[in-house]
């Protein structure tokens, strides 16, 4: 049905799609409910990979000891997403396919180098998280494809995920996801991702270059935060101006880097 009708839409937990229908922003010809496919749900650890079915709810991930243990950054970010009644229905695949520029999960999968698994009439396809988001609310997923899973590689890194929202559960004004590996107190393989400040997640190679092989102190954190946010032109709206979002992103990044840097001592 999805393959033959480009106006048809897949329905997962419905926590983003049903508000769009209620507000008449989205008017699909047909909804295809994926909720009955049990195979889409579950968390599985093997060969250094944590595989999560696209239909797994955020509440299931929040309560999963495997997720807390293997991908603590994901566990932390999920607790920031909306409220428990939303997380009880919302799914990881639904949120990623929706690709809201203000959502947490896109930043998380880019920061963690996750791989997305999609299925369509021609079989299975794997997509790097870095290539998945093509713009606000748009992804590399074909009209005839659905997301079936997300795979997180094991990586021994120190993570931080921080965001600022006006109220617990509101959309964040800006958020950052960072990860570093530490040799003594020196950073290697840094990952810096900002979200909510552009049409999709922004990985800052400039900030990563500054962090590579350095010891994170106040000066390095400030320098990296400046490098990551200098050229950003975040969206401005009634919740926060563009300039304010940019300052919030820089402050969050500085804090997140000091948080992972402190673990070195």
């Amino acid at each position: 049905m999805l393959a033959s009708d480009p106006q048809a839409k897949a329905l997962a937990g419905g926590q983003s799609l049903l508000p769009l229908l209620a507000l008449r922003i989205s008017q699909p010809s047909t909804l295809v409910d994926l909720g009955g496919i049990a195979e889409l749900s579950g968390v599985d650890a093997q060969d250094g990979l944590l595989s999560i079915g696209a239909g797994t709810t955020l509440a299931e991930l929040e309560d999963s000891a495997l997720v807390r243990d293997r991908v603590p950054l994901l566990a932390k970010a999920i607790r920031e997403i909306a409220h428990r009644p939303i997380r009880n229905r919302a799914t990881i695949g639904g949120s990623l396919a929706h690709a809201d520029p203000a959502a947490e999960l896109p930043a998380v999968i880019v920061a963690l180098d996750a791989t997305l698994v999609a299925h369509g009439p021609s079989g299975e396809r794997r997509i790097d998280a870095a290539d998945f988001f093509t713009g606000a609310f748009t992804t590399g997923l074909g009209d005839d494809e659905i997301l079936t899973g997300v795979e997180f590689p094991a990586r021994n890194a120190n993570w931080s995920f921080l965001e600022v929202a006006r109220r617990s559960g509101d959309f964040a004004l800006a958020m950052v996801a960072v990860g570093v590996e530490l040799e003594g107190d020196t950073c290697t393989r840094p990952t810096v991702v900002l979200q909510g400040v552009a049409s999709g997640p922004v990985r800052s190679l400039a900030a990563e270059q500054i962090l590579e092989n350095s010891v994170v102190d106040d000066a390095v954190a400030a320098q990296a935060a400046d490098a990551a946010t200098r050229d950003l032109r975040p969206p401005g709206d009634i919740h926060a101006s563009s300039d304010y979002r940019k300052r919030v992103a820089a402050a969050l990044l500085r804090r997140a880097l000091l948080e992972v840097g402190r673990r070195a001592q």
Binding site: Q15, H83, G169
Partner: protein
């Protein structure tokens, strides 16, 4: 848009302990099914797009926005609405705590508040005040009577022997 689908799907669902089988249009939300078909008007509709929490019900024990769930998605599930809280006669201990603390003004948000906190206290029977505030941020009270609601939940939770 042309040709709104009028086909129906058969849905079996349990509401407040009673089993129903209904032929429903797929476009009907769980909230509209509960209010219009089951006449359970204790479930309130506020924003109808998942922001206010007034329509919160329990689905297999988990708090869910009934405006963000289609009735056909509730197939085989067990729904509890405000009418199904407790034994049916009198108030539950959590409702009594709300009563004692004047934790309602106009009352429109109260059903959603009670169902959100019922699920929350089952998952976290001894919450801190910060945890209570975070849980209640899922629901809006436009009378802004939040402090009394937080006090009621905290009072209930302080008696560790009580279960929701």
């Amino acid at each position: 848009m042309t040709g709104v689908a009028t086909e129906t799907h058969t849905v079996e669902v349990t509401v407040n302990g009673r089993h129903f089988e209904r032929a429903l249009e797929p476009r009907i939300s769980l909230a509209d099914f509960l209010r219009d078909d089951r006449q359970l008007t204790g479930t309130k509709l506020g924003c109808e797009h998942g922001v206010c929490g007034a329509c919160t019900v329990l689905v297999d024990g988990a708090a869910v926005r009934s405006c963000l769930m289609l009735a056909v998605q509730a197939r085989g599930r067990e729904i509890i609405t405000i009418e199904g809280l407790g034994s049916g006669s009198g108030l539950t201990p959590l409702q009594e705590a709300f009563h004692r603390h004047h934790a309602l003004q106009c009352g429109y948000c109260t059903a959603g508040m009670l169902l959100t906190t019922t699920a929350f206290l089952r998952e976290n029977p001894s919450p801190t005040e910060d945890e209570i505030r975070a849980a209640l941020s899922a629901n809006l009270c436009r009378c802004t009577g939040y402090q009394a609601i937080i006090d009621a939940v905290a009072d209930f939770a302080s008696d560790g022997a009580r279960s929701v």
